[in-house]
Symmetry: C2
């Protein structure tokens, strides 16, 4: 984590920027250029990490250094975002004074919804990562010698997991769809309904699926992706997971004759305002325990929450949002589309809580940037105009003067200052961002 | 494969012996002695492979070399049994002349049912190894960005697999329990019903399970283990398996945010006389395809038979069995228990077919030998008396003279002489014995 600050003028607003400079591996064989060398082809710059998240971080630096800074700036450049933000909360907590007076956090780690129109991200889903484990006999057994006479953990597990999702992809857990805010999509829909930036057919083609389970219209598809909770079974395998009771260091490596003594399933849940993580976990626990009890099995079940990350939501009357919109409009000549994302960025809500300031997200990359994939790229125009948007936004903020806008006056930061042991901070950040850097 | 022959006297019977000298790895931390050094502690010899299958092979060699051999002997010592018997059928087919005139195949690669009474194994289950694969989107997708709008392969797979096994472990596939011979247990039960060599409580304790799904009496438990077909789900994981359409070299390594584009489940089926492998595969295929069709998913399903191994069964009127019983009785002073095994030894039925002779199995090790596990051992008494049993058996056979007993007169061997490409030979042997050397 690189932490820095430029300016301590109490008469100027203070802005904190977050970006990350680490990248995903680049083992995909489809790279056409050296992934660790910056290559310019036609309108695009190619290289691992150019869109996620080096370009935005670079644009910020370039935007900030043009002439005398009109605001105080603090910044955090992280190098572990793709690997769980390990130590991040610890580093922030030990250096809180560097961010003194922060009135706004700017993050640029999301994407446009399409190719041509700049966007402002105003909400993201929250996430829960859970492991369901079933443990049985004392050791792995032989399917020939002993198959057929006892309840096998893998069979129990798949019978329990199969009850989670029903036809049409509907999650069958009591309470799963409770407390969903129906109006989450309104702001995005106002700007997207007449736009060609997102189409049903284009989205299906990008996914590479012949059909969707979401209703076949643009609005309902966006509502499902952005505004409704979802549940994906992301893994099942034999063996006990690391860190759980009965663990082995590695899941059992099995072949056809081995009945594993334990089996684990991994579930990724995304939830939305105003759902509560603890309440959802209770619903899930209740569901899997009841499903398991119905089997009458002699095995044991265990549900473990590996990570939780809060949904993130801008206060829609926020003057910061209006300022960002104005900066984008001045630079690009068009009003940005307001968009949400289905992923989660635990860093956003975490920094809001510890720095007692709201965050805004200004995406720079296009939806076709291939973040994390082969031939990751960013359009040159986006990079250069992005730099100017940052500059313009800082000038807008400077013009506003030193009074905070939309700052959470009641936030003291003190409740969050424990550097370790708070499940909602370090542990969450660690596990929650371990997989997909762009947006969990 | 080491192939040899002693004696070509056409007036003497010819016996072929099969044993394997390779072993499983010995990575278990619980070894009390060096697993690759022979150690004698109290009544036992300890070391990796002592029971599976070096002791029996050694006993054969020792039994055969005492004085002038009363029979012609051919032998096969294999070094790839624990690793799929790769090249085995090829080696046999190229050297068939070494086994000319074989009237009996002797194998000693099974176990006693208990600790004190020698056994004769007269039947083993057959096996089918199958992979069910479901493929969906063109690439892995992000559970945050795209979760909730399309049919996920892993969810489809577990919903299909969950229909395989119902309550009490009953397999729910139409036709799965057809053509089962109800009298398979009779011979074993006659000798076991009043014996204390096998008990319900001892078996549960050995497995380390608090309860069994099989009916709670000794006979039904043995019927279920030995005489009824079973189905175990031995693996489920994301990614496409190697060697299947849409394969990747490795299954996808996933974490909580990744929805895998494909998922695979592995199933181990054991079947019994007089069930037919092809018919069972048809039942399985029909079942998974119908279950999948009921989901209305846009994904694709594929069922692949990875290996099949025939059940093995002695002709119960066989004079060879009577001779083996007599040899055991003379040496141990007790009549052996007749037992079956739930596992499969594809080598047995394979050699019967290519050498046109029946096989018998004379187990030497006790049920507590820990084959494949830490502290594998064999009782010294079993080893020395086993050697004598072999010697006595060869003498019994010599006394019988040169006329074959129970030989399949109609077998020409020619139908089986294709060294490669026969699914029931090399390919089966290869995959079928890949996992558990003692008995698949």
């Amino acid at each position: 984590v690189v932490i820095g600050r430029l300016g301590h003028n109490p008469d100027k607003p203070t802005v904190t920027f977050y970006g990350h400079y680490d990248v995903q591996p680049a083992a995909e064989p489809d790279w056409l250029t050296n992934p660790f060398e910056l290559n310019s082809v036609n309108e695009y710059l190619y290289g691992r990490g150019v869109s996620d998240n080096k370009a935005s971080t670079g644009a910020w630096c370039a935007g900030g250094r043009l002439g005398r800074l009109p605001v105080n700036v603090a910044f955090i450049f992280e190098g572990e975002e793709e690997n769980g933000s390990r130590g991040f909360s610890h580093a922030i907590m030990r250096n809180l004074s560097w961010f003194e007076g922060t009135q706004l956090i700017i993050i640029s780690n999301t994407l446009w919804v399409g190719e041509n129109v700049p966007c402002l991200t105003y909400g993201m889903r929250g996430m829960l990562s859970l492991t369901v484990q079933i443990t049985g006999p004392e050791r792995d057994l032989h399917s020939g010698n002993d198959g057929g006479v006892f309840a096998e953990p893998m069979v129990d597990l798949l019978r329990v997991m199969a009850t989670l999702v029903g036809s049409g992809g509907k999650v069958q857990i009591d309470g799963f769809y409770d407390n969903v805010e129906p109006s989450l999509i309104d702001l995005a829909w106002d700007s997207l309904k007449d736009s060609e930036e997102f189409s049903l057919e284009g989205y299906k083609a990008a996914l590479g699926v012949p059909a969707l389970t979401a209703p076949p219209n643009k609005r309902d598809l966006l509502v499902t992706r952005w505004c409704r909770p979802s549940l994906s079974v992301v893994d099942m395998r034999p063996g006990a997971p690391v860190g759980m009771p009965g663990q082995q260091s590695e899941p059992t490596s099995t072949c056809y004759s081995v009945i594993p003594k334990a089996a684990q399933g991994k579930v990724s849940v995304r939830f939305v305002p105003n759902q509560d993580a603890d309440q959802l976990v209770a619903c899930l626990r209740n569901h899997v325990e009841q499903s398991f009890a119905a089997l009458g099995s002699s095995n044991k079940i265990d549900l473990h929450v590996e990570a939780r990350g809060k949904w993130w939501e801008v206060w829609q009357g926020s003057p910061w949002l209006a300022m960002a919109e104005a900066a984008i409009h001045k630079e690009w000549g068009v009003h940005p589309l307001y968009v949400r994302e289905g992923g989660t960025m635990p860093v956003a809500s975490y920094l809001e809580r510890v720095l007692c300031a709201p965050a805004i997200m200004i995406p720079m990359g296009q939806s076709s940037d291939n973040c994390h994939l082969a031939n990751e790229r960013i359009r040159r125009t986006n990079l250069f105009k992005g730099k100017n948007v940052i500059r313009r936004l800082l000038e807008e903020i400077a013009a506003m003067g030193g009074v905070g806008a939309g700052n959470a006056a009641s936030c003291t930061g003190k409740a969050e200052t424990a550097p370790d042991g708070d499940v909602d901070d370090g542990a969450v950040l660690g596990a929650a961002t371990a997989c997909a850097g762009l947006a969990e």
